[in-house]
């Protein structure tokens, strides 16, 4: 048995989610091979080769793989000759986008967003916005799986010395072409992996008021997140959304400010170690999951909190 992990990266750095996926792969028997498909991404392959738990790295480089468009990544993965029992990728927008294509072409029913490996063919995954946890057994010959990064602790990023092999990059499909990107620039830690997350909801009132949360985040070395309502209202960009249909986070400390705690929001943060809720409505459902609740006007207490840190 050999597991193939499809690396998520930006052609220079291996994303944290890839390390979590390697950790999930190492719960399976046999070797772990990492495929780095991209453009001018040797440095990514070097990082993957150093990661604990990796036995071999495959490097597939081509200009058309620069933006990792789903159709082209599919071709690059399908071009690999090894016989893999399991194919894994992070359940990020990268993995969610391309992985089902590979599953369909292999005629395999993908198992999405696993949170545990029970055995070679049995996995746990949340359904209904995390209201239920299903234990699913795959009867397909090959298993195609996306991994919830927050559910698997990363192994060491240094110390390994896997070999790197250059492999075929497949061919450009020309079904889709890259036009452009508008990425959120931030000096703060990545929302998905931050140790502390400060999130704001509709209660913030407008986008300017989010500056307050950014100050708080800077004091705590935190990432800033938001509820869907705050994103829909245009207070912050889409990539801030935490929840069932946004990002899943599980930091050491999650501070929810002006967020009511709808089930779809809870689905994205209730695995956080410590949850703090600041809300002026003592009936708000967020208090049912909060370790520490403060029933107050956020405009009064957030500045106080910034002061006292």
């Amino acid at each position: 048995m050999t597991t193939l992990v499809i690396a998520e990266h930006d052609n220079s750095e291996l994303q944290a989610s890839t390390y979590n996926t390697i950790a999930a792969a190492s719960k399976l028997e046999g070797e772990t091979v990492v495929l780095v498909a991209g453009h001018e991404c040797q440095s990514v392959a070097d990082q993957a080769a150093k990661a604990e738990g990796v036995d071999k790295v495959l490097l597939a480089q081509a200009e058309f793989l620069e933006h990792l468009l789903a159709e082209d990544v599919e071709k690059a993965v399908m071009a690999q000759e090894g016989d893999y029992s399991h194919i894994l990728a992070p359940a990020s927008t990268f993995g969610k986008n391309m992985m089902p294509r590979i599953a369909a072409l292999l005629d395999v029913q993908q198992i999405s967003d696993i949170i545990s490996v029970e055995s070679e063919d049995t996995f746990k995954r949340p359904v209904y916005a995390g209201n239920a946890i299903a234990t699913v057994k795959s009867n397909d010959k090959k298993k195609v799986i996306t991994v919830r990064a927050t559910a698997f602790d990363a192994l060491a990023t240094e110390g390994g010395s896997a070999s790197i092999e250059n492999v075929s990059a497949g061919s450009h499909t020309e079904l889709s072409n890259y036009v452009g990107e508008e990425l959120t620039e931030s000096e703060r830690p990545d929302l998905g992996t931050a140790r502390v997350v400060v999130s704001g909801g509709r209660g913030m009132g407008n986008g300017e008021n989010f500056e307050m949360l950014e100050q708080l985040a800077d004091k705590l070395g935190a990432a800033v997140g938001a509820s869907r309502a705050a994103v829909d209202a245009g207070f912050v960009p889409n990539d801030y959304q935490v929840g069932q249909t946004g990002k899943i986070v599980a930091p050491e400390l999650y501070i929810a400010v002006g967020i009511s705690g709808a089930i779809q929001h809870l689905a994205g943060m209730k695995d956080s170690k410590v949850i703090v809720a600041i809300n002026k409505d003592e009936e708000a459902p967020i208090f049912q999951v909060a370790d520490y609740g403060l029933v107050e006007d956020l405009f009064k207490v957030v500045p106080e909190l910034i002061e006292s840190l």
Binding site: Y128, A129, N131, I133, P237, E304
Partner: protein, 249 residues
């Protein structure tokens, strides 16, 4: 251009889902069902493309039991021209849904298939991508903007880092994200009109697709409970607890 919209009937987003005591699944008896919210967004986008004169016909399709008729009638009331119900009593997996939709696409020959990025029950986020791969088409997933021009479609996608725009050759599959549009409500006259629009039924068995389950759900359990914590009186107490009790700052 003809657009096919795939819609799924799911437990309403506002229902608190309950796990069955025997852990075989979740309670669906006497539970309010609705069109999957992402599918509503897909229908709305199709209707807007028709209003702009880009789409000429909208066909809504759902795979499921007889009650899915209701959901399809809603799509017709919102502006779809015709509906197709592929009837089955089985809960199909995404791969089987994609294979079934592939057959419908071969029959209907749309230039675009619009669907939800995920359904809020299975939360799989697979079907659109699988359908695109099976058809050998391009895909624009998690769309927050769709522009059709000269036989191509530009799709702005919500990705983890922000937004990405790609251009796809048509035909293509587009899956919707939350910010694509705000779905309208069906008006009473349109609900009445929808009753007279065509709704075809085909039996899944007659399509000749292999829809056998590849996975078994061994159990469905409640997630670990989080116990309710305490209320603090003020910021000083909060900071003290975080420092000395939880030790997270």
């Amino acid at each position: 251009m003809k657009i096919l919209v795939a819609i799924k009937r799911v437990i309403d987003a506002n229902v608190k889902v309950r796990v069955k005591p025997d852990n075989s699944g979740v309670e669906t008896a006497n539970v309010k069902m609705s069109m999957n919210p992402f599918c509503e967004i897909a229908v709305e986008e199709a209707v807007r493309l028709k209003e702009q004169g880009i789409a000429s016909e909208i066909v809504a399709v759902s795979i499921g039991n007889q009650q899915c008729q209701e959901t399809l009638r809603t799509a017709l009331a919102l502006g779809a021209d015709k509906a197709v119900l592929v009837k089955t009593e089985d809960a199909l997996e995404p791969l089987a849904v994609a294979k079934t939709l592939q057959k419908v696409v071969e029959q209907e020959e749309p230039q675009m298939v619009l669907m939800g990025k995920q359904s809020i029950d299975g939360d799989n986020n697979q079907t659109g991508q699988m359908l695109a791969a099976l058809l050998g088409w391009g895909q624009g997933t998690f769309a927050s903007k769709v522009d059709v021009e000269d036989g191509k479609v530009q799709v702005t996608r919500e990705i983890d880092g922000g937004l990405q725009t790609i251009e796809l050759k048509l035909p293509a599959v587009v899956t919707t994200d939350l910010r694509l549009n705000e779905p309208r409500f069906a008006s009473l006259p349109n609900i009445m009109k929808a009753k007279r629009k065509p709704l075809d039924e085909v039996a899944l068995a007659d399509l000749g697709v292999d829809t056998a389950s590849r996975t078994e759900t061994l159990s469905v359990e409640n997630p670990p409970e989080r116990s309710e914590g305490i209320k603090v009186e003020n910021v000083a107490e909060l900071v003290d607890k975080l420092k000395n009790e939880a030790k997270v700052i």
